[in-house]
Symmetry: C3
Subunit: 373 residues, 3 copies
Amino acid sequence: MVTETSAATPFATTLPGRYYYDPALYQREQERIFGRMWVCVGRADAIPRPGDYLTVDLAGESVIVVRGHDGAINAFLNVCRHRGARLCTERCGHVTGAIQCRYHAWSYGLDGRLLGAPNIRDMDGFDRAAYGLIPVACALWGGLVWLNLADDPAPLAAQIDAAILQRFGELETVERYRLDELAVGHTIVYDLACNWKLVVENFMECYHCAITHPELSHFVPSFKAGLAYQQGVGARFSDGVDSLTVSGKTNRPPLPGLLPQDLRTYYGFVLLPNVFVNLIPDHVVIHTLWPEGPTRTRIVCDWLFDPAAMAQPDFDPMDAVAFFDLVNRQDWEVCELCQQNMASRAYQDGGLYVPLEAHIRAFNDFVLARLEE
Amino acid sequence: MVTETSAATPFATTLPGRYYYDPALYQREQERIFGRMWVCVGRADAIPRPGDYLTVDLAGESVIVVRGHDGAINAFLNVCRHRGARLCTERCGHVTGAIQCRYHAWSYGLDGRLLGAPNIRDMDGFDRAAYGLIPVACALWGGLVWLNLADDPAPLAAQIDAAILQRFGELETVERYRLDELAVGHTIVYDLACNWKLVVENFMECYHCAITHPELSHFVPSFKAGLAYQQGVGARFSDGVDSLTVSGKTNRPPLPGLLPQDLRTYYGFVLLPNVFVNLIPDHVVIHTLWPEGPTRTRIVCDWLFDPAAMAQPDFDPMDAVAFFDLVNRQDWEVCELCQQNMASRAYQDGGLYVPLEAHIRAFNDFVLARLEE
Amino acid sequence: MVTETSAATPFATTLPGRYYYDPALYQREQERIFGRMWVCVGRADAIPRPGDYLTVDLAGESVIVVRGHDGAINAFLNVCRHRGARLCTERCGHVTGAIQCRYHAWSYGLDGRLLGAPNIRDMDGFDRAAYGLIPVACALWGGLVWLNLADDPAPLAAQIDAAILQRFGELETVERYRLDELAVGHTIVYDLACNWKLVVENFMECYHCAITHPELSHFVPSFKAGLAYQQGVGARFSDGVDSLTVSGKTNRPPLPGLLPQDLRTYYGFVLLPNVFVNLIPDHVVIHTLWPEGPTRTRIVCDWLFDPAAMAQPDFDPMDAVAFFDLVNRQDWEVCELCQQNMASRAYQDGGLYVPLEAHIRAFNDFVLARLEE
């Protein structure tokens, strides 16, 4: 068990260093967190037409996410039931009518049913219905596709709403940003040399902002003081700052439906296990984390805008992209510096959270609780 | 133990997925299959003169295969008996008279005897005869060199003949092709990202031919129907097809000694653990597999011809090479697609063999039996 | 336990092959040899001014070696006490006054004390004195910096003097070369594909010199006979040879303080675990070994000269550098040839030491004794 405090301080401790590099603990996380929770795998509007598909790697499984003829999105293990061949080999693509294996031509419908297997007749005693693609639970929230590899998962909304209620005390603030009606204006993919939890812990506190993010702290004074994650409270911009862009200005109007209290305000929150949401008056930044090993994390960062604003002839997302890309890279650098010492004897019992970071311990306890399940 | 059938089908199952990626099972295969059976390591005519040598990696050992002064081929561990230095460092080469270590100049004859060790006199109590190179069993079949790392192996012929008898019911068909009198016209080396057993299983069935090999199936109609591996039966070519070349034609006569029943006919067979033989009227294609890790396989493919045909001024092997190279690459692609899903939960109990593939199960049972020995 | 002799010979055996590649044995060596002994990490004159620092990787720890305001050199784990971030990220550099973490701006003095931590007041119950950098024992000998990760190590001199007394029977010979007054004229870093112990064993014997080092043996006749490491005896140069340079000549005078018996003489010795010293009349060559994995070793080779000689307008170190670089590369090649066979069945019980190498066994016994501690 992890001790909450050390002899020299009343402060909470981080997880011991081994939680950030041990392959066995990573494997356990993959099984018990990413293999059992709803995990975000991308934007639903990336596959708008029937037959459009994504393939994603989730907790060791390749999964096909495909829009069916009825317009609904389904997900299946990307494994032919015959000899196990990988079916879809591109990250995204389109199939017309059926998913066919390149090895022996077994073919499956967009609903996963086995449509045909050459040279096998049902009279051979072959129960065709038993050899459809293996389904994976799939649901939508905020325009995002979420998968759950568990056999009988609870509804997605239960997981999402609990996280939002804990952060905001209500659901309305987030709903005002109508995430499912926004569109992607730009995407950057980052490869980090650190454990995914270091990135979550970094996102959850602003004690580092004054030194790591001078530009951001200049625009958001409460960040300079290290304040973040107060329940239900947004972070107000400095006078003259209207958005988190390079200039602090923007030619985009606020997102439709926002209230006056949302203007010149930033809200950030985490949807465990793998999404960060950043609400800004005229755009939204969403980070999706993909653990790729005990000490590797891939992060997909999407900048979302109102489609009406994107249709304007002078629309240019890059003032927003350049700003948060800078903030991102500042964070990734310090996360990687921490990773380098996780195996040090100095960190075998973990480090400590100062009072401004104390709330992060709840994330560590969430991880420990999941690993014990 | 592996269950032979699943609830939903009377068909045989493949090995569970872990047999295709687990490092411990791979190590066990290396010890109990490649470390105890006769394994083909190349063509004897690659080292024609006394002093010519090959070095090969077999089941973790580097082995020198060298032709002696008496013309016979011998094999030894490539390890100096003094401090263990690697002796021969090239894949093939020539030594004159002795194999000398570059570290302290210990020298060994082509028969492995320790010839000299500087500064050591037998009067020191040193038993020179005990420090010759460690021999490895070596024998020839079909112009191929076979090694056996076991201490006291059964004769090579017992292993080879059993395989041929099981496939053909007699030895004469294969003998007619006089493999040891053919010569290499071309060689291609392939590196595959899959376990060696997937390649064997692929070679043993033609259920995939219609979809994976349209060109080959066009030339060999029974392949289009998925037929392969019937005892004692060759696969007949289509009308107008004389050889497996790009055009289906050839300017090479049939190999000397073939019977009318061999013309316009293909015979394929496996010599476990690591050779595929493809008999074609005017040439022979031999695949030699080298497992290079749980999920890596190197394949050396030799195209063999009658030396008399090779001496013709218009001899060109490339019509034959291009055709089987195409077939090879089609197979490697699907083998690699299977490898990608071996660790999926969908394959933890294996896939299944349809009736046209049912004979492959015998290969899986061979592997299981060997691993238990 | 390791058997000292085999049935066929009265000679001593080497360590079994697994000691040269097994990751678990390597880890044990790292803990019990490199984690508990004084280990050389470089030259003290590389950090001449207060605030100059080196970072080194020792037994899995990143260590800062920094010269303080009082001119003394101190060493600390390169780990921020707050969240574990790596503090100094360059191999060498300079800090002015304090070492500051880039994550949350905790800052430490050159003596390791925590100077400041933003937003934390001692009145919070925070004991600032308990959060200084974790010190690592640091001492100097021969102008070299030595670290010891043990909690309460014996003095460095005890370790060094014992090694010199064993080799020379006295301390005066080495003292005459005044290593701490010499300066680096040239440095070459080598990356070897072998275990560090093979390099030590290679350095300790000259049975290989006649074949591996023809140039060196030509200059030092006793090496041609395989003689090395006789207690208290230096190796005399051939007639007409004054130094170990490409020509055997040099325009540099002997180092100040040498006695007539030191001229035209080479002394070599090992300071376990990781230094080789080569005393030559006009210069000194020092090898520092860094194990970088079971089968990887980095070697830093410094050529040291008298600063007075280096100040001469015609000073050129390259005649000396080119010669010993040749000798080095000859050695590294044979060490790597041995590494390649350490996992062979032929070496599972080790090789053997002939009488000219018998003294190396003491090094092997040192390793075994340390691993058992």
